[in-house]
C-alpha cells in the first residue's frame, strides 16, 4: 500500500462525513481560537437562531487585533469607541456562551497564534481553526490549521465542524544548512518569492528537508505562519523531538502516562516512505540570503544585497503592470540598491516574529547600539508570557537603552487597527507578514524582513545587511 502523508493522516482522522461529488467533507475541529475582530457577527448568528456553542471547552478566546499596545495602564483605556465596543462584545459573548477568554487582564493574553502554542493547546495531529488567515502558524506542530471566515466561525461554534473540500498537497523541501545571519523568515520569504503569492492556492504545504528539521519550534512557526502568503490553505511540519521537547514544558500538554501515549501517537504522524505529494518544490537552504521585500505583496522579495527590479525587463504584461504599480506606490527606482534605503519606522512584532527567540535575535544586534536619529522603533512582544520572559532576560532594557519603544502585546502595527500605524508616505522595515498597500497605515510603505535585518535597520536608519553588524 502507498504510504500516507502527514496531511492525509490528520485529515482522515477528522472526517465526520467523507466528501462526495455532491457535498464537501464534514471535518471535525479539535481547537477553535477566537479574537475580537472576526467573531461578533458569528455569535450574533447563534443568538438569532437560538443555538448553543456545541463544545465550549474546545474554543479559546483572546484579544489582540484592535487593542492598544500602549505601555502601562493606558492599554486598558481604549480610546477608540468602536474598538472598545468590539472588545466589550467579546467579553460579553464569552461570558454568555461559557468560553475561556484571555482578556486584557489575563497573564496569558497575547496574539492568538502566539498563545495557542505557548499554552500547549496547539498539539500535533489536531485540527485547528481561527477567523484569521495566519492560523497556518500552528501547522509547525504537525497540526492541520487554517484560517476561516466569520460564517465558518459560527459553524464551528454551533457544530464543532467545518465543510471542506480536500485540498491538494505541495511539498516544499529545503535541504542544506542555513548560513549565519539567514533566518526562518528569510527561508519563507524565499519560498514565497519562488512559489508566488497565488502559487499555493488549493494546497496544503508540507515543509520537509534538513534545513526545516534543523529549525527550532519558534522558527518553524515563522515558516508555517506565512504559508498563506503563498496562497496555501495551510503549512505543516511533521512533529519530531524538537516538537516534543517544546511541548513537554507547556501547561496544557498531556502529562504523565498520557504524555507517553501522546508522543507515541504523534511520532506516527510523519509522512511515510512512498507517500506522494501532488506537487513538489526543492530549495537549496545553503544558498539562501537574508531577504527583504521591495513591492506590495510578500512574493516581491529579493536577497538584501539586490537592486530593485526593472519593470522593463519583465516580459509578462500583467506582471509588469503589477511591478510598475508596486514601485510607484513604494516610490522606488528600478536599479536602486535595497541596502541603504532610508526608513522612518522599524516594527518588531506580529504573529510571524514576536516570540522570545525573535526578540533575542533583534537584541543581539541592538545591544550596546543606538537607534538611528529620526527613526521610531516599536518592539511589541507577542504575548504577556513573551514580555515577561524578555524582561527577565533584560531584553527590554537593551531595546529601551537603544531608544526603542517596549510595548504591550498585540497585533499592533502589523495590521494597524489600534492606532499603531505609519503616516502616509513613511517607510518601515517590519518583521510582520504583509506589505500590502496601506497595511501598516494608509499610504505607509512596508519592507518585510527578519528581526535581524529589522534591528540592523533600526540602528543604521537604512535597510542594512545585519551580517555586517554581527561580524
Amino acid at each position: 500500500m502507498k504510504g500516507r502523508t502527514l496531511f492525509q493522516k490528520v485529515w482522515e482522522a477528522h472526517v465526520v462525513r467523507p466528501e462526495t461529488v455532491d457535498a464537501p467533507a464534514v471535518l471535525y475541529v479539535d481547537l477553535h481560537l477566537v479574537h475580537e475582530v472576526t467573531s461578533p457577527q458569528a455569535f450574533d448568528v447563534l443568538r438569532e437562531r437560538g443555538l448553543p456553542v456545541r463544545r465550549p471547552e474546545r474554543t479559546v478566546a483572546t484579544m489582540d487585533h484592535s487593542i492598544p499596545t500602549t505601555p502601562g495602564a493606558a492599554r486598558f483605556a481604549i480610546a477608540d469607541a468602536q474598538a472598545a465596543a468590539q472588545v466589550r462584545r467579546l467579553e460579553q459573548n464569552c461570558a454568555e456562551f461559557g468560553i475561556e477568554l484571555h482578556g486584557l487582564d489575563s497573564q496569558h493574553q497575547g496574539i492568538v497564534h502566539v498563545i495557542g502554542p505557548e499554552l500547549g493547546l496547539t498539539q500535533p495531529g489536531r485540527t485547528i481553526v481561527c477567523g484569521d488567515s495566519h492560523t497556518s502558524t500552528h501547522g509547525a506542530f504537525g497540526a492541520l490549521a487554517f484560517g476561516i471566515g466569520t460564517s465558518e466561525v459560527a459553524h464551528v461554534l454551533a457544530t464543532q465542524c467545518v465543510l471542506q473540500r480536500r485540498p491538494r498537497t505541495l511539498e516544499v523541501r529545503v535541504d542544506g544548512r542555513l548560513r549565519p545571519g539567514v533566518t526562518a523568515k528569510d527561508l519563507i520569504l524565499a519560498v514565497i518569492a519562488r512559489v508566488g503569492v497565488g502559487g499555493g492556492a488549493g494546497h496544503v504545504i508540507e515543509f520537509t528537508g534538513s534545513a526545516v528539521r534543523a529549525l527550532s519550534m519558534e522558527q518553524r512557526m515563522t515558516v508555517c505562519n506565512m504559508s498563506i502568503e503563498a496562497g496555501a490553505r495551510a503549512g505543516m511540519i511533521a512533529p519530531d523531538d524538537t516538537t516534543f521537547e517544546y511541548l513537554s514544558k507547556k501547561p496544557r500538554a498531556p502529562k504523565g502516562a498520557d504524555w507517553d501515549k501522546a508522543v507515541a501517537r504523534w511520532r506516527a504522524l510523519s509522512t511515510e516512505e512512498g507517500a506522494t505529494y501532488d506537487r513538489s518544490v526543492a530549495i537549496d537552504g545553503s544558498a539562501l540570503e537574508p531577504m527583504v521585500t521591495y513591492g506590495t505583496n510578500p512574493g516581491m522579495a529579493l536577497p538584501v544585497g539586490s537592486r530593485v527590479p526593472d519593470p522593463a525587463e519583465v516580459p509578462d504584461s500583467a506582471a509588469r503592470a503589477s511591478l510598475e504599480k508596486a514601485l510607484r506606490y513604494m516610490d522606488l527606482r528600478p536599479g536602486q540598491p535595497l541596502v541603504g534605503q532610508r526608513v522612518d519606522v522599524v516594527f518588531i512584532g506580529s504573529c510571524t516574529n514576536s516570540r522570545i527567540e525573535d526578540l533575542r535575535s533583534a537584541a543581539s544586534v541592538m545591544r550596546g547600539r543606538k537607534v538611528a536619529p529620526g527613526v521610531r522603533v516599536l518592539v511589541v512582544p507577542g504575548s504577556q508570557r513573551v514580555k515577561q520572559d524578555a524582561e527577565l532576560e533584560g531584553l527590554d532594557r537593551i531595546f529601551t537603552a537603544a531608544g526603542a519603544e517596549w510595548r504591550e502585546p498585540g497585533c499592533s502595527m502589523c495590521i494597524a487597527m489600534n492606532g499603531d500605524q505609519l503616516a502616509p508616505g513613511q517607510y518601515a522595515v517590519s518583521t510582520s507578514n504583509r506589505n500590502f498597500e496601506g497595511r501598516q497605515g494608509k499610504g505607509g510603505r512596508t519592507f518585510l524582513a527578519s528581526p535581524l535585518t529589522a534591528a540592523a535597520t533600526a540602528v543604521t536608519g537604512r535597510i542594512a545587511d545585519a551580517r555586517e553588524l554581527l561580524r
Partner: protein, 192 residues
C-alpha cells in the same frame, strides 16, 4: 440567503492582479460588530482621495458603472486575510459576482456564504473581459456558463456550492442536520 440563479449585468473591470483583502476593505474598517453597511469602505484607499472625495479615474466611481453587479478583476483576486468583511462590503455595494482567472481560497469560501458568486474563467475569456469593461454578461448557475456577445464559457462551481446558491440554502443548516454523525464521531474519538 436569497437564491441566485442568473445574473445579467454590465461589468466593472479592476485589471490589477493580486488584489488583496486589505485593498477590498482596509483593516481600520473592521472594528464593526455588524455585517451590514460596509459599502462605503469598499476599496476605500483606491476609491477616495485624501480629502475623502471620490477619485473620478477609479472604475467604481465612473457614472457608467453605477448599478453594475459583476466585478471583473485580475488574477488571484482576494488574496490575504480571512476577513469576511471583504465579501460583505462587495455585496453591500451591489456586486453579486466576481470574475477572475483565479480567486484566493478563503475569499472564495467566504463569498459563497454570502451569495457572491466566484466565477473563474480561462485565460482567453479573462483577457477579453478585462479588455472590454462595461459589456453586458449573463452568468447562469444552472448551466455554469458566462456568456456575452460572441462568447460563451463555462466555469467550475462546486455542486454543493451551486446547490446552496441556487436554493438559498445556508451551510449552517446543512451542518446542523449532521448532528448525529458529529455526536458519533465525538464518541468514537473519546474511545480512541
Amino acid at each position: 440567503m436569497e437564491p441566485v440563479r442568473r445574473i445579467v449585468s454590465r461589468t466593472v473591470v479592476l485589471p490589477q492582479r493580486d488584489v488583496d483583502t486589505d485593498q477590498i476593505i482596509p483593516a481600520r474598517y473592521l472594528k464593526v460588530t455588524q455585517r451590514a453597511g460596509l459599502s462605503d469602505a469598499l476599496f476605500a484607499d483606491w476609491r477616495y482621495d485624501k480629502d475623502g472625495r471620490e477619485r473620478p479615474d477609479f472604475p467604481l466611481n465612473q457614472p457608467k458603472t453605477k448599478g453594475a453587479q459583476v466585478l471583473v478583476a485580475g488574477d488571484n483576486f482576494g488574496c490575504g486575510s480571512s476577513r469576511e468583511h471583504a465579501p460583505w462590503a462587495l455585496r453591500d455595494f451591489g456586486f453579486r459576482a466576481v470574475v477572475s482567472s483565479s480567486i484566493a481560497d478563503i475569499f472564495r469560501s467566504n463569498a459563497l456564504k454570502n451569495g457572491l458568486v466566484p466565477v473563474v474563467v480561462d485565460r482567453d475569456a479573462h483577457e477579453r473581459l478585462l479588455a472590454t469593461p462595461g459589456i453586458e454578461v449573463t452568468i447562469d448557475l444552472e448551466t455554469r456558463t458566462l456568456s456575452t456577445e460572441g462568447m460563451r464559457v463555462s466555469f467550475p462551481l462546486d455542486p454543493f456550492a451551486r446547490h446552496c446558491l441556487m436554493n438559498g440554502v445556508d451551510e449552517l443548516g446543512y451542518l446542523l442536520a449532521q448532528s448525529n454523525a458529529i455526536a458519533e464521531y465525538e464518541e468514537d474519538a473519546c474511545a480512541r
